[in-house]
Symmetry: C2
DNA sequence: CGCCTTATCAACTAACTGGTTGACAACTGT
DNA sequence: ACAGTTGTCAACCAGTTAGTTGATAAGGCG
């Protein structure tokens, strides 16, 4: 898996089971066994999911006797929101500019010229 | 592909090429050919990526002669941020509560016995 | 009309994923 | 020291994915 962290985080969250694990870890740390209990899959399968999450940096594991309590590294979630917000905002701004241009074009073609950059239409 | 939209969106964004396509579409609509040009892969490969993005609802395509201009549906990005924010906030609140509890425990008694944590803490 | 451009479809391949089972490592507790 | 608990590793399998090439559809243009 030679991939950037952002890709690993998105990929990790693309699986419903793993999203569910994240949701449960948001409520508190838990051991692998406890996390696996509600699912109809082997503990090994859940262990693999946890590995994907840890490789993405979303989860860390400590040690408590035989147990490996899992802990959600919530700040890593921000990597994705930061990326997304950047482009969502960019697209939004572009729409506003486009709307302004359209409004401008309409006002000039229909009547006397108006000043630039009238407010954006919603 | 029998999967919920949230999974499809996360999976779509898990690929660096597709994230790059999204980034470029955030700056304006573009045809498949124009999108493919900068990459060292076939147009077909990019067309497939676009299909993944459209299946996730992130991109829509119209028709202009032979061309299929792609348009970013930026609001779909919010699906992911909404999901993430929910759990990031939940985890954050839990930390605040935990901090409060710890502060309380420290101020009242120094010899608090720690019980084993088998399942999820609530 | 034929030809070129643009994009998708179809079939194939190599790599990856998510699951399984079995072995075993790490540690507890009597 | 030994049995039991907890979790990971290894090997395997079936399904998916990201790429390829070749064929074809859809439409403008000389």
């Amino acid at each position: 898996m030679v991939q950037d962290q952002l890709s690993r985080v998105f990929a990790a969250l693309a699986d419903p089971t793993r999203r569910d694990l994240v949701a449960r870890l948001a409520q508190g740390d838990a051991t692998v066994g406890a996390l696996a209990a509600p699912y109809d899959v082997s503990v090994q399968a859940v262990s693999k999911h946890i590995k994907v999450l840890t490789d993405a940096g979303l989860v860390s594991q400590t040690r408590d006797a035989q147990r490996r309590p899992c802990h959600l590294e919530a700040q890593v979630l921000d990597l994705t929101t930061k990326w997304i917000e950047r482009y969502r905002r960019q697209a939004e701004e572009r729409y506003e500019r486009l709307d302004a241009v359209l409004a401008e074009a309409q006002s000039t073609s229909q009547s006397t010229r108006r000043t630039r950059n009238q407010g954006a239409v919603s």
